[in-house]
Amino acid sequence: MKKIRNNEGKGYQGQIRNYILSVIIFLVAWEILAESTTRFHLMPTPYETALALARLASTGILFENIKASLFRVLSGFTIAFSVAVPLGFLIGWYKTVKELSDPIINLFRVTPPLAFIPLMIIYFGIGELSKIMVITYAAFFVLVVIVYQAVRNVDAVLIKAARVLGAKDRDLFFHVVVPHSVPYIIAGCRVAIGSSWMSVVASELIAAQSGLGYMIEDALRYFDIDVIVGGIIVIGIIGLIMDGIVRYIERRVTVWMVRVS
């Protein structure tokens, strides 16, 4: 017993060590690349990038832009979530609704959200709304599809067991279908937030007055490559943090799940 514990501890420490190693290797490779191309001034060193970010942070510009991007992602995602989840349940529960909506959903599911940016600009201008709509779109179809597939995935024997125990349709829905779907919905949120984050940056690159995408786009005008690279890093880190938060919630909510690692 003790031996197993020790091994586990070692494994965990080893994992952390490897993670740190991975970051160090990345930074070193970056440093080498930057130093070797320094006369072209195409790639800032990690230090220069950090300096640029510190400068932007000290004036508050960085946080303004992060706030703008996050606001758009969260608004778009919230709208998508509140429409997609009920709709997904509806599609999964009623066969007719599924058959009616399937072709349309499948068409839009494979259409990238970025293709809608020009249309959104025509409809909603270059203000907040056009960006939020693009994000809503990006998150919406991922969630709808995952929710309705979750509903259709419920183990038939659980439905039978619930019926025998006296469950009516309503009970089946709230006591079997919904709890069964929760882990799928959370997994869907992870994907949806990821694609929302990618879409917000893209739409800010095209037309915006604020946001991390705008910050990069603006830096391009002055060929401020330090800020461009710094912006990319910040976008990545925020994406990682959001993903981490959803994963944390996932672990908390689905303690009952059998996890295969």
Binding site: A161, A162, L165, G166, P179, H180, V182, W256
Partner: protein, 261 residues
């Protein structure tokens, strides 16, 4: 036994429409189960045993004929007929105690009331200490105990068991066989039990039914007049061996009929 008929099948037939045509699963099944009986049904695999049980449960409909519980026609699933399935059919998001009391919750019992009943069956089925465990934390045998406790907690007229130990290892099986006999001896709740294991059938039952190959019919019945209570030592007694031989011969004769045809 008291001789009161509790469950009666009258000319029950069942046909399935498949791609290759109509398959007759059951043909004119006539069967009477008396109150307090432990009725085991054995038959070659694919003979329609489970189909018959599902019809008793109200989960499937007979193509023709009818099934009566205390003279009332069975139209659908009801808490008065509880099923223990071969597959593990616990709700993975509910703890043991919540699984057992789920049907009572649907009946509208308060938390205290249903937990009190659930605790009684947790005690009987030897699940004490596991009240708040999730199914994933339990072995297959333990999960089946929970399923049995869940069925008993509903205080049904009859328990329908569809090869409940079929997926378990031999040792766990023997344990559970003894346990279920013990539970049955306490309140003499009528049990209809399906198995393909002749020894299990003879050990458990007060009456045995042998089903023919597809289309399934009740080919013979056999009263098992072994003393009650029983424990596994009875399996080496001459009476037991005699019954087992008789049951096996009846079963084999059914299988030979199909081989000849």
């Amino acid at each position: 036994m008291s001789g009161n008929v509790i469950l009666e099948a009258r000319d029950v037939s069942k046909e399935f429409v498949t791609k290759r045509g109509i398959v007759k699963a059951l043909e004119n099944v006539n069967l009477q189960i008396n109150e307090g009986e432990f009725f085991c049904l054995i038959g070659p695999s694919g003979c329609g045993k489970s189909t018959l049980l599902n019809i008793f449960a109200g989960l499937e409909r007979a193509t023709s004929g009818e099934v009566l519980l205390r003279g009332r026609k069975i139209e659908g699933p009801s808490p008065e007929r509880q099923v223990v399935f071969q597959q593990l059919a616990l709700f993975p998001w509910m703890t043991v105690i919540d699984n057992i009391s789920f049907g009572l919750k649907l009946k509208g019992l308060s938390k205290e009331e249903r937990y009190a009943i659930a605790k009684k069956y947790i005690e009987i089925t030897g699940l004490k200490g596991f009240e708040h465990a999730y199914p994933k934390e339990l072995s297959g045998g333990m999960q089946q105990r929970v399923a049995i406790a869940r069925a008993y907690a509903m205080n049904p007229e009859i328990l329908l068991m569809d090869e409940p130990f079929g997926a378990l290892d031999a040792q766990t099986r023997e344990f559970l066989q003894e346990d279920i006999l013990k539970t049955w001896s306490k309140d003499k709740k009528t049990v209809f039990f399906i198995t393909h294991d002749v020894e299990e059938a003879v050990f458990l039952s007060t009456k045995l039914g042998i089903m023919s190959s597809r289309p399934g019919k009740i080919a013979a019945t056999l009263d098992i007049k072994l003393p009650i209570p029983r424990d596994k030592r009875i399996k080496v007694s001459p009476e037991f061996i005699e019954y087992r031989k008789k049951a096996l011969e009846l079963l084999l004769s059914q299988m030979q009929v199909t081989v000849k045809v």
